[in-house]
């Protein structure tokens, strides 16, 4: 698992806007689009969203990839509205709205580093301090998860090889159980290391 995720490195205008304003703009636009519920507004925003990809250096191909995932849903909307409701303009509007919003949201993801997004989450989690949550620990868990994904994947591969080597078949739980036990041990050792390294002091250390 790459730490880059879906991020596309670049220096376009969208890359230069911080994550917070981008998400806020998307939220406002999304609410407005649904509240106005106008065919031409929806189509205009869709065109803007489509043009945004080549203009900001994300590439038209990535826009098409989004649409490829979305097309069965768009088809379902179109067919349902045309056949059962008899309002094909309504169908076009709903399709345009959905495609526009998904395209715009995806553009934000493609132009924002995962680390920047996580930093934003951490800031947004700050008010949770009042209910007893610690933003530092939130950030720590998210970082720990990213570091654990390749370790889990490796444990998974090793267990699958063992499962095949022993000629076991059709008993998937016998494949998963050793992985889980391995992960539980791994978590135990990691917890110990967090305490030993003074990164997370909040632990009952005598309890093993």
């Amino acid at each position: 698992m790459s730490v880059l995720g879906l991020y596309v490195p670049g220096t376009g205008p969208l890359h230069r806007i911080p994550a917070g304003p981008k998400l806020l703009a998307l939220l406002v636009l999304g609410v407005a689009l649904i509240a106005v519920a106008d065919l031409w507004v929806a189509l205009t925003v869709l065109v803007v969203a489509l043009v945004l990809y080549p203009v900001t250096g994300l590439g038209a191909r990535r826009a098409l990839a989004v649409l490829r995932v979305l097309w069965p849903f768009l088809l379902a909307i179109g067919v349902f509205q045309a056949l059962f409701v008899g309002a094909w303009t309504e169908g076009v509007r709903l399709c345009a709205q959905l495609a526009a919003l998904v395209l715009l949201a995806n553009a934000i993801t493609l132009s924002t580093r995962v680390a920047e997004m996580l930093a934003l989450f951490e800031r947004l989690a700050r008010p949770l301090r009042r209910v007893g949550a610690d933003p530092d620990r939130v950030a720590l868990v998210l970082a720990l998860t990213i570091r654990s994904i390749p370790m889990v994947a490796a444990a998974w591969t090793a267990a699958r090889d063992g499962y095949r080597a022993r000629g076991l078949r059709n008993r998937p739980h016998l494949l998963v159980v050793p992985v889980i036990v391995h992960l539980l041990r791994m978590a135990e050792a990691t917890g110990e290391a967090l305490v030993a390294r003074g990164i997370d002091e909040d632990s009952e250390s005598a309890h093993r």
Binding site: R147, A196, R197
Partner: protein
């Protein structure tokens, strides 16, 4: 100086440490012993990872039971499986996070991180994911992440168990070059040749305490006498 006074500990009904009393003053101290001899638990009492049922572990005026945070800042700990000790996604982040609680400021943090990465030959891997490093490099990263906080004492619990010979030598050289006091718990008797003092743990007690060659001689004789190989992993 690390001091243990009458330290006893058991898991459930199994006693793993039976009244260990020690002053650890020498610069290079090795601890050897079979699996289940209490070695690993002894290591964990030194920085408060394990608080003993009885007795006291202290560093100067600090006590692991009451001043765990202070002790952990001064007594660094390196585990045998570095993969579990590496906590952050990339090399540089992992070295940085240990410094966060020291609140040194950005410039000083960066200076220390760069210095330690260069010293341990990890500068080229700065932004690489930790899990892509080789086994030896992982252990070096684990060491670097602990050393960057500049502890007074470094406790290593079998740091070379999972490494091949070349990487074992690399870790050995690194430990050798440290200014800090090192307490090394190991199965690797070769590492201890030039140590100041070596302890042999047996059934939860310090069975021998002396020069490396004598200790290793005592240990091998102990293993020869002990025909029952009933040692269990601790």
């Amino acid at each position: 100086m690390l001091r243990l006074e009458g330290v006893s500990h058991s898991y459930d009904d199994r006693a793993v440490l039976r009244g260990v009393t020690l002053d650890l003053a020498e610069r290079r101290i090795g601890v050897i012993g079979a699996n289940g001899s209490g070695k690993s638990t002894l290591a964990r009492t030194l920085n408060g990872l394990v608080l003993p049922d009885e007795g006291r572990v202290s560093l100067g005026e600090w006590d692991t039971r009451r001043h765990a945070r202070h002790i952990r800042r001064r007594v660094g700990f390196v585990f045998s499986d570095a993969a579990n000790q590496i906590i952050m996604p990339t090399v540089v982040e992992d070295v940085e996070i240990g410094l966060r609680s020291l609140r040194l400021g950005r410039a000083e943090t960066e200076r220390r991180v760069n210095e330690i990465l260069t010293r341990h030959g990890l500068a080229d891997h700065r932004d690489h994911p930790g899990h892509l490093l080789s086994g030896g490099q992982k252990q070096l990263l684990a060491l670097a992440s602990v050393l960057v906080t500049e502890p007074e004492v470094l406790v290593c619990d079998e740091p070379t168990t999972l490494l091949d010979l070349r990487n074992t030598r690399m870790v050995h050289r690194t430990l050798d070059g440290l200014d800090q006091q090192v307490v090394l718990f190991t199965h690797d008797l070769d590492l201890l040749a030039d140590f100041d003092r070596v302890l042999v743990m047996h059934e939860g007690r310090v069975a021998f305490d002396g020069a490396p060659t004598d200790a290793i001689g005592f240990y091998t004789k102990l293993l020869d006498e002990d025909t029952d190989p009933g040692g269990r992993a601790s």
